[in-house]
């Protein structure tokens, strides 16, 4: 038995660590872009959704429903496989992943934005309007600062979900954490160790997010 050459690597080495580090960086890049761009779009869509003009809220509501009611995996396929055929452009796998995360995050986050805005009572609008403030001024100085407090807890929940959803990009063979885990698993069969490390790295991204949420919630509460 001892003569049979062993093709299976029986421990993780420095190259594997490097692969994991690269994969971690790729996951972080995907998530940060998804989160930042998603939030920006979410505010635009959420403001439109809470408008009383139908030409604003109807398209916003349609966007939210279409995105929320279809799986992110399917959206990823549409962006990566169908869009190139329709538009005759090739979408690099990284940007396909970012796009899927952005539209997903923006649709869910838009509802959080809307709920936050609507949590600020009519009396606040009236008080601000009676002082001669414009819509933009009221949003900026009166409504959004109060809405933000309501938006942070569900918003962070969404961000954490986004980090985990980023694993779907692995189906396009993009080497983010989950895909790196699969590669190392196939190479070493050390399933417990490999996925133990991958899970720990996901935790390392998500946990600070929830701490940050707690901290900012507490800080915002100070103001009455």
């Amino acid at each position: 038995m001892g003569n049979v050459p062993n093709f299976v690597q029986d421990s993780l080495n420095g190259w594997d660590a490097l692969l994991l580090a690269q994969a971690l960086w790729n996951t972080v890049r995907l998530c940060v872009l998804g989160l930042v761009l998603g939030t920006v779009i979410a505010f635009v869509v959420g403001l439109a959704r809470s408008s009383k003009h139908s030409w604003l809220w109807v398209p916003a509501a349609a966007y939210i429903e279409v995105i929320r009611d279809s799986p992110i995996l399917m959206q990823l396929y549409v962006i990566f496989f169908a869009l190139p055929i329709l538009l005759k452009v090739e979408v690099p796998v990284f940007w396909a992943g970012v796009a899927a995360l952005v539209i997903n995050a923006s649709a869910f986050m838009a509802e959080i934005v809307r709920a936050g805005i609507q949590s600020v009572g009519r009396d606040q609008w009236e008080a601000a309007r009676s002082l001669g403030m414009s819509y933009v001024q009221i949003m900026r100085w009166v409504v959004l600062p109060q809405a933000l407090r309501v938006m942070i807890p569900p918003g962070v929940g969404l961000f954490i979900g986004l980090v985990k959803d980023s694993s779907v990009v692995s189906v396009l063979s993009y080497v983010e954490l989950t895909r790196a885990g699969q590669i190392l698993m196939e190479k070493t069969f050390l399933s417990f160790q490999v996925f133990g490390i991958v899970a720990t790295l996901y935790f390392a991204i998500c946990y600070p997010l929830s701490r940050l949420a707690l901290y900012s919630e507490r800080r915002l509460k100070l103001g009455g």
Partner: protein, 240 residues
């Protein structure tokens, strides 16, 4: 200063303001009394366009309130209103509440506005509560911050919408005192209130409203001691 001419307003089938006309001169203090649902608050809210009217005209300092946007904001900036439920901005300290509109709407320098805000808060007796948040203040204190906030825009006209109705009895006086101070300074004021003592003491003219109409108007003495209209008599006999 204010000229209201034959205005009508409906909420659905309810005729809330029915052919209301009223003029208020500069420096005049007019107190509006009447049973609830008589349209008093709605009338005030129409004066800075929180409610649009369906017909009739409202003129404030020579400017007609109509649907043009900038015009409305300009008028609002010059008409201060204080609400029954204070409506302070809960995320801002007392002084920030007072400073917000002058800085954001009037674009005045912050340092200058801050000085004036301190002066106004001192005037309503809150020099020691400058940095407190609304949640840390009593109802009477909040309402006085709301008065200072409205005054910070240097309005030509102040509207008071049942500003003491939500207050505990022992806190009413501090708010009324702040208002009396304004009367002495010659501010033009339209006051909706159930405080008949206040009306008798400071009003130049008292208006009695019922079912969306102005039923009777006259000096406090005329209205309180010699009401002509039977509905005014009935209302006053119930509350005095």
């Amino acid at each position: 200063m204010v000229k209201i001419s034959h205005i009508h307003k409906h909420f659905g089938r309810l005729h809330v303001l029915n052919d209301v006309s009223l003029e208020v001169a500069r420096g005049e203090v007019v107190v509006i009394i009447g049973p609830s649902g008589s349209g008093k608050s709605t009338l005030l809210r129409c004066l800075n366009y929180l409610e649009p009217v369906q017909s009739g005209e409202i003129w404030i300092d020579g400017v007609r309130l109509d649907h043009h946007r900038t015009n409305i904001r300009q008028v609002r900036a010059e008409v201060g209103i204080v609400f029954q439920s204070y409506n302070l901005f809960p995320h801002l300290s007392a002084i920030r509440n007072v400073m917000l509109a002058p800085v954001v709407v009037r674009k005045r320098p912050e340092a200058e506005v801050r000085e004036e805000a301190l002066r106004l808060l001192a005037k309503v007796g809150l020099a020691d509560k400058v940095d407190a948040y609304p949640g840390q203040l009593s109802g009477g204190q909040q309402q006085r911050v709301a008065i200072a906030r409205a005054l910070a825009m240097q309005p030509k006209l102040m509207l008071f919408d049942e500003v003491t109705s939500a207050l505990d009895p022992e806190l009413v006086r501090e708010v009324l005192d702040a208002m009396k101070q304004l009367v002495r300074e010659g501010m033009t004021m339209l006051v909706v209130t159930h405080e008949m003592g206040f009306a008798r003491e400071v009003a130049h003219r008292v208006v009695f409203m019922d079912e969306g109409r102005i039923v009777e108007t006259g000096s406090p003495r005329d209205i309180f001691d010699r009401p002509q209209n039977s509905r005014t008599q009935a209302f006053l006999s119930k509350i005095l």
